[in-house]
């Protein structure tokens, strides 16, 4: 039900991001979606990419502070307000969204997010028949 996301700890200073991106380039890893969370001093670069397992292992071997996490990827119909409806379902169950970002897939929006309670979130997704994107479909994009 989840897709793999790479999370990388970087310092919030010039040059750190490009270093990671160049590394992925040299490894032949392609980005599908990404986001950066930042504080004054630190950043976390989160990536959905091709071959996440290989990307994770090679970043780890290179000494990068990296982790592989499972996040939800849900497709929404191209109608205004669908994101609000979806998140409302989680909120009403008392589930908090830790972070969220989105991208377009074949004209439809995709929400990538992590919650504070993965098991409960799974139940909500199943109960409401939310359209989950399998990881293999993401690779088909490339």
């Amino acid at each position: 039900m989840t897709v793999n996301q790479i999370s990388i700890f970087i310092e919030n200073k010039s040059g750190t991001l490009v270093k990671v991106l160049k590394f992925l380039k040299d490894e032949g890893i392609q980005l599908i979606a990404s986001t950066i969370a930042d504080t004054a001093e630190y950043g976390i670069f989160r990536i959905i990419c091709s071959e996440p397992e290989r990307a994770y292992q090679s970043l780890k071997a290179a000494g990068v502070a990296v982790s592989l996490c499972e996040v939800f990827a849900i497709q929404l119909d191209d109608i205004p307000g669908r994101a609000a409806d979806a998140i409302e379902l989680f909120a009403s169950e008392g589930i908090s969204i830790a972070y969220l970002y989105s991208f377009l897939l074949n004209g439809n929006g995709v929400l990538i997010f992590r919650t504070d309670n993965a098991d409960k979130a799974r139940e909500v997704i199943e109960k409401n028949n939310l359209k989950v994107i399998p990881e293999k479909d993401l690779s088909l994009l490339l």
């Binding site: 999370s7 700890f9 310092e11 990068v64 502070a65 982790s67 972070y99």
Partner: protein, 436 residues
């Protein structure tokens, strides 16, 4: 066990009497045999007759490493060259090497003091003791070697290098004791593990480690990986070599052989004496040395002396762990800060790699201290995905540093592999106040 009950357990009153007598003799000896000291004493309007008790030691001039370099090679030697039977030399990476000549009596006292150390660790005549300090100009190898022989155990003069062969000998001969630097002990453990030899195949039970600073965490690791009890051994070639102080079974600091090497603690800035229980720079006066006796030699080592009675029965004062070098001391907002204090805090944090950097600056006329630490790469592998662990690390480090340093430091967490690695100690400190 105690090697020399009558000296190591002498009542403080009797020891004081003895030390007072020896200090007078020592001052008289250098006054008449070392022009350097005669000149210094005369400049201060002092003669040996001004020494009435050991308390008068505070009247005497200090000696520093530079004095040895300035009087290279034999200027500080008191005994005639016909009496010298051994010469050691320090590395001398920053100038002339330091030359120390020993008479036969000096080598005898060295062996005696070293035997006291070994006996305190539990070494006896049945042991096979491997000396893995370097043999040669460095005092470590030969110093321990003579002590082991004097005690009557069998010495294996392994020296450094040839580690695989050494491990094989430790196993095949049933070596029970070893002396080396703590980092060499870890190297030995690693070599052993790579060779597929388990610690239960060895008979090692005692380790004497010194010649470089080490922590309790290193002690635990060495004990665990080599399966022995690890003891501290302190010494410096200017004063004698390894044998100056040693841990007993209580391991509450290292007992000083103070019938031969009289310790003082002074404030490294004002040079005023500091009482027992408070940290400062360690200073030694040799009370019995003939070859190159020294008055109030400033070791640059920072530590605390304790004189509470030890349950082992020895009456000598004990040195606490070395806190650093007075050369490295920083004064931040009027507080003395040693990089080693910061290091000791960082080493207790499992999330941190053992690499750090201190940045001292002055912002709006106020000194600031920033401590940069590297997070361990594998720390993030454990499902990390938010800033929370980083903030927790910052907070914990800030609190612990505050309680150890008594000043607030700003903590910056760095990516793995970004801070300079340990080659020269001074690289760890960037003092921008001086550069301005």
């Amino acid at each position: 066990m105690i090697w020399n009950q009558s000296k190591e357990c002498l009542s403080p009153e009797h020891m004081r009497e003895y030390q007072s007598k020896m200090l007078y003799k020592m001052v008289d000896y250098v006054y008449h045999n070392v022009p350097f000291y005669r000149n210094k004493l005369q400049e201060m309007d002092l003669t040996p007759n001004d020494i009435h008790s050991i308390d008068d030691i505070v009247k005497l001039p200090f000696t520093i490493k530079q004095d040895m370099r300035d009087n290279y090679p034999f200027g500080l030697q008191a005994a005639p060259s016909s009496e010298i039977i051994r010469i050691h030399a320090s590395s001398g990476t920053t100038g002339n090497p330091t030359i120390v000549g020993y008479t036969r009596k000096d080598v005898g006292i060295w062996s005696e003091c070293m035997s006291r150390c070994l006996t305190a660790y539990g070494v006896n005549r049945n042991d096979i003791f491997s000396v893995a300090y370097g043999y040669g100009l460095f005092t470590g190898g030969l110093g321990v070697h003579y002590g082991v022989e004097n005690l009557g155990a069998a010495v294996l003069p392994a020296s450094t290098g040839g580690t695989e062969k050494h491990v094989r000998l430790i196993r095949d001969l049933g070596v029970t004791g070893i002396a080396c630097t703590p980092s060499y002990a870890l190297h030995l453990a690693e070599t052993m593990e790579n060779m597929g030899i388990r610690k239960d195949q060895l008979k090692l039970r005692i380790g004497a480690f010194g010649a470089e600073p080490w922590t309790d965490a290193m002690r635990d690791e060495i004990e665990e990986r080599l399966g022995l009890n690890a003891f501290n051994l302190y010494g410096l070639s200017e004063i004698m070599g390894p044998c100056v102080s040693y841990e007993c079974e209580c391991q509450q600091g290292s007992h000083i052989n103070w019938d031969h090497y009289f310790p003082e603690i002074v404030d490294p800035v004002t040079l005023e004496p500091v009482p027992y229980g408070q940290p400062g720079e360690l200073v030694f006066t040799t009370l019995t040395k003939e070859g190159m006796p020294l008055l109030r030699y400033r070791t640059r080592d920072l530590c605390t002396l304790y004189n509470e009675p030890c349950s082992c029965g020895r009456t000598s004062p004990r040195m606490g762990r070395l806190l650093g070098r007075s050369d490295d001391m920083l004064i931040i907002r009027g507080i003395n800060v040693f990089p080693s204090q910061v290091e000791s805090v960082i080493l207790t944090m499992p999330e941190c790699a053992p690499h750090y950097q201190l940045i001292v600056d002055r912002v709006n006329n106020i000194d600031t201290l920033t401590v940069q630490v590297e997070v361990r790469q594998d720390y993030f592998a454990q499902g990390f995905d938010t800033f929370e662990p980083i903030f927790n690390l910052e907070k914990q480090l800030t609190n612990r540093l505050k309680s150890v340093l008594s000043i607030r430091a700003k903590v910056e967490v760095k990516q793995p592999g970004t801070l300079p690695r340990s080659e020269g100690k001074n690289k760890f400190v960037i003092d921008k106040r001086i550069l301005k």
